[in-house]
């Protein structure tokens, strides 16, 4: 398989701002729009920031530019549970645009919103109707890209929403929280269908929660969800209403010999995706990536140690709680490799056989710093290894080999 060479293309952010980053600027969601022309970014302050590639006649890859932003969610208080609902954006999903209008779904822990960004003229009344009952005279006060909320999907989730995806045909939206996966109709947000329900009769018996869910890239009837026990379930909406009963399970049986205190925590899947061609599933847990062939469900075709030196640091990672960090994963366009993030401003590109693991280091010098990580690799992670520089969110463009990677408050673009 041809080795993929990714190169630095562009960065938003610099060292100074990165060293003194405020919590609310940390990027919490990244997503390309389906044609690759736009990119959406969500942060902990509840903002959605849109970048675009201006349409030029030049053939070489133009760079992304800031286009517009909007305040998507604000902090709310849940009166029933006496807790805050954070405004942090958890996920972004783009829908097909119409004319010059952009449509994008955003969600925080509880509420999904459909935003429309369009070229509008905002008018105001300068001469009201008088005794003659003439129509009010209007004047344009603002012109340009104005966002407006088109739909709000009612607060249905009892727990925090961890995933949001739209089906390829954009009829359905899938959202999941700890115990349920809901299917929404984009047209009618008032009705949602429970596709999966993991709630046990007795909540005390709860041992497994849902950690993520996603639709198949092309087949609108299939989706997968992942659990904290490292299990992946592939569901087909055509077979039954409640999809869990007829789902295909992919799980690796636990090896009791290798079990230790941390096993349960590190087997929880943080993110999973289908390969672009829909034949494989890449699932990311804390230490490894497992590659599954959908046709073979008893064991993965490959298990890749993302960065083995972390294994020896599990105690420290438990202390500083970094062991609970979640990393995203994306498939490359040719479905032969996957990309996932790591600590210390690094991300990995690995082929799906697990033979070639390349670690890239994000930097502000516009350089591509890459090194090969051989199997059975060990390195002493000294004090310079920064666990705070986490590369948790990334998004793969669907039309070209271009990936957007977020680290703290900075956004990087790499191409191949």
């Amino acid at each position: 398989m041809k080795k993929q060479d990714w190169k630095f293309m562009q960065v938003f952010g610099d060292k100074a701002s990165s060293d003194n980053v405020s919590d609310e600027d940390i990027i919490s969601a990244v997503q390309f729009e389906r044609t690759g022309r736009f990119l959406g970014l969500g942060d902990r302050a509840g903002r959605l920031i849109v970048f675009e590639v201006p349409q030029t006649k030049k053939k070489d890859k133009a760079e992304y530019q800031y286009l517009t932003e909007l305040q998507s969610h604000t902090r709310e208080f849940d009166f029933l549970k006496s807790t805050d609902i954070e405004e942090k954006i958890n996920q972004i999903q783009w829908l097909r645009g119409q004319g010059k209008n952009m449509y994008v779904l955003t969600t925080n822990d509880k509420t999904v919103k459909l935003w429309k960004i369009s070229e509008k003229n905002v008018t105001k009344v300068i001469k009201p109707s008088g005794k003659d009952l003439a129509m009010p005279k209007l004047q344009v006060v603002e012109s340009g890209l104005i966002p407006s909320v088109r739909k709000v999907f009612p607060n249905l989730h009892n727990y925090h929403i961890n995933s949001l995806t739209a089906s390829n045909n954009e009829e359905f939206v899938l959202t999941s929280d700890d115990l349920k996966v809901y299917l929404w109709s984009v047209e009618q947000p008032s009705k949602a269908f429970v596709a999966v329900d993991l709630k046990p009769e007795n909540l005390d018996e709860l041992s497994e929660v849902i950690t993520s869910s996603t639709f198949h890239p092309t087949l609108d009837n299939q989706f997968l969800y992942t659990t904290s026990k490292g299990i992946i379930k592939l569901c087909d909406m055509r077979k039954s209403g409640i999809c869990d009963n007829t789902a295909i399970t992919m799980a690796e049986p636990e090896d009791p010999a290798k079990k230790n205190f941390f096993t349960e925590i590190v087997t929880s899947i943080s993110d999973a995706c289908f390969s672009r061609n829909g034949k494989y599933i890449f699932s990311r847990d804390f230490l490894t990536v497992k590659v599954w062939d959908i046709a073979m469900t008893n064991k993965p075709v490959a298990t890749v140690q993302v960065f083995e030196p972390l294994k020896s640091k599990l105690c420290d990672l438990y202390e500083n709680e970094c062991i609970f960090d979640k990393f995203s994963i994306a498939s490359t366009l040719d479905s032969n490799s996957f990309i996932t993030g790591n600590f210390n401003s690094t991300f990995h590109v690995v082929d799906r056989m697990g033979e070639c693991n390349q670690q890239y280091e994000l930097n502000f010098n516009k350089k591509t710093i890459v090194r090969q990580i051989p199997p059975k690799y060990f390195e002493n992670l000294g004090s310079s290894y920064d666990f705070n520089r986490k590369v948790q969110k990334l998004s793969m463009c669907q039309t070209q080999n271009l990936v957007a990677i977020a680290c703290l408050n900075c956004l990087y673009f790499y191409t191949a």
Binding site: P128, S129, P136, L138, R150, N169, E171, L219, S240, G241
Partner: protein, 579 residues
Amino acid sequence: MPKIENTTGMPINLIIDELKSDDIRKRIHSVKHLDLIASTIGPDRTKNELIPFIQELLDDDDEVLIELVDSLSRNFVELVGGQAQVLLPTFEALCRVEDASVREKAANQIKKCLTQLPDQKKVEELSIGIIKRLNDSDYYMAKNAVAILIPAIFNQVSQNNQNDLINIILKLSQDQIPQVRKFTSMYFQDLVKHFPLINETFIQNILNSFIKDEQDFIRMYIVDALIQSSKTPFFQKQQNFILNMFKQLAEDQSWRVRFYFCDKLAEIGEAVTKDGYRKNFQNYHLKFLQDAEPEMKSIAALKIERVSGLMDPEDILNKLIPLLKTIQSDTNAFVRNALASSVLALCPIIGKKNTSEQILPIFLTLLKDQDSEVRITLFKKLSLITNVLGVDSLSQSVIPALTELAQDKNWRIRASTIEVLSFFARAIGPEFLSDKVLKLLLDWMGDKVSSVRQTAIQQTAQLISILGLAWADKNLLTKIWAFQSIQNYLHRLTVLFTINQITSQLTNDYILKTIVPILQAMAKDSVANIRSNVCRTSIQLAKEKGGNIADPMKKILQTLSDDQDAEVKYQAKSALESL
């Protein structure tokens, strides 16, 4: 047309200004009263000023647009002086919005406006223009309206235009965006009605391309197109084609498509006639009753009522009823509920003996179902079995079940059960309302929960209208009047609320004889709330009945206008003034 009266309490110019208010509720309010504005300024100014101004409102939230399209649908053609074509550009613009219900209503209004234009050539010109513009729009959702409009005007346009429209539909059916194909599929049923203007090959080509579509919601609507085409001569010519396609849909991999097929079974049966149904589709229905997916069992059970008329009674006995025995104990309550709502429809078809042997056991099992909803659904269809087997034989089992529901812990169940009584009264008659049942009604009138008491009072009014005042007085009302002496004042109030509810059904004689003494007694009640309600009841009786009732009511109110409680005094005095 007469001018519309301004009942808003606001000056018209303010309503006009608020069309562009920052507050969405004010905008909605103004949009609701567009007809008032139009009526005030007259048809010419509406045409020249208001309608163009509405263009400025089109960029608003869905909530406002829904109100806008509804508002414009009400007699606006009259308000523009009868010139329907003036409204067309506005409706055309509303066909481009994101909300599907607004688009559909706007398209239907375009249809309506076009029918009101006298010049046929103009209609053709305008409609083709609208369709082509919407079809060429950047906004793919505008094609929804295209799919709605083309069937509506197809037979009114020239051959050349018809060919153009056919080509548009062909393109839409192959559009890469699934939603566009969905619109085309949904409304294809309207287009096939124009056979033979629409030729055979075209229909077959389109249906063939839809059935291969990977999207469930596109294959689904083929059912409707096939039903409609079965009602045209197309059916005679292409019977096999239609039947084969129906079968493919009945066997579709996706349960949602099978569900839609099952939902339309009755219509399919009507279209292909009884013989066609029995030969081709009966088995599918029976198979659906055994489907692994509970939603399928549920829809199949629900349809029993309607397809039973298409089946041979022998088949019902030998093939259908055996399957019901598993369904009656299905783990899903909604499946059992579906069965409860339709199984009793079989009774009149299979006759008394078979009902007693086959349906009665199912009926008795469902009567004891753990889910109260199932039991209530069953009750609503009770007349179907009592007509066949007679009330007496059933009251032994039904009354205890009713009593149990009447005392259910959940007040909503108790309230729903009360409504069942009027079903009985209507369908079976007063014999069913034995002492035991009437005692239940009285218990409900004294229920702890006020909503239950309210529903019981409403039911009493219903029973009087069905069974008459004389019956009600003898069996029911006398006992209700006895509530006057209950210690808890809330139950004494029930007496007054009942009088309020049944005022229109009382005769003046009855009022003079029975009601007036009650009111006179309660006007001396120690609780002020009661006396206050006596005022309300008295004024209502006086106003509604007039005549010889007014005087006794006035006397009561006069007594109360000297009451020690300020509120009662005020009420009595203002009541007297209004008389």
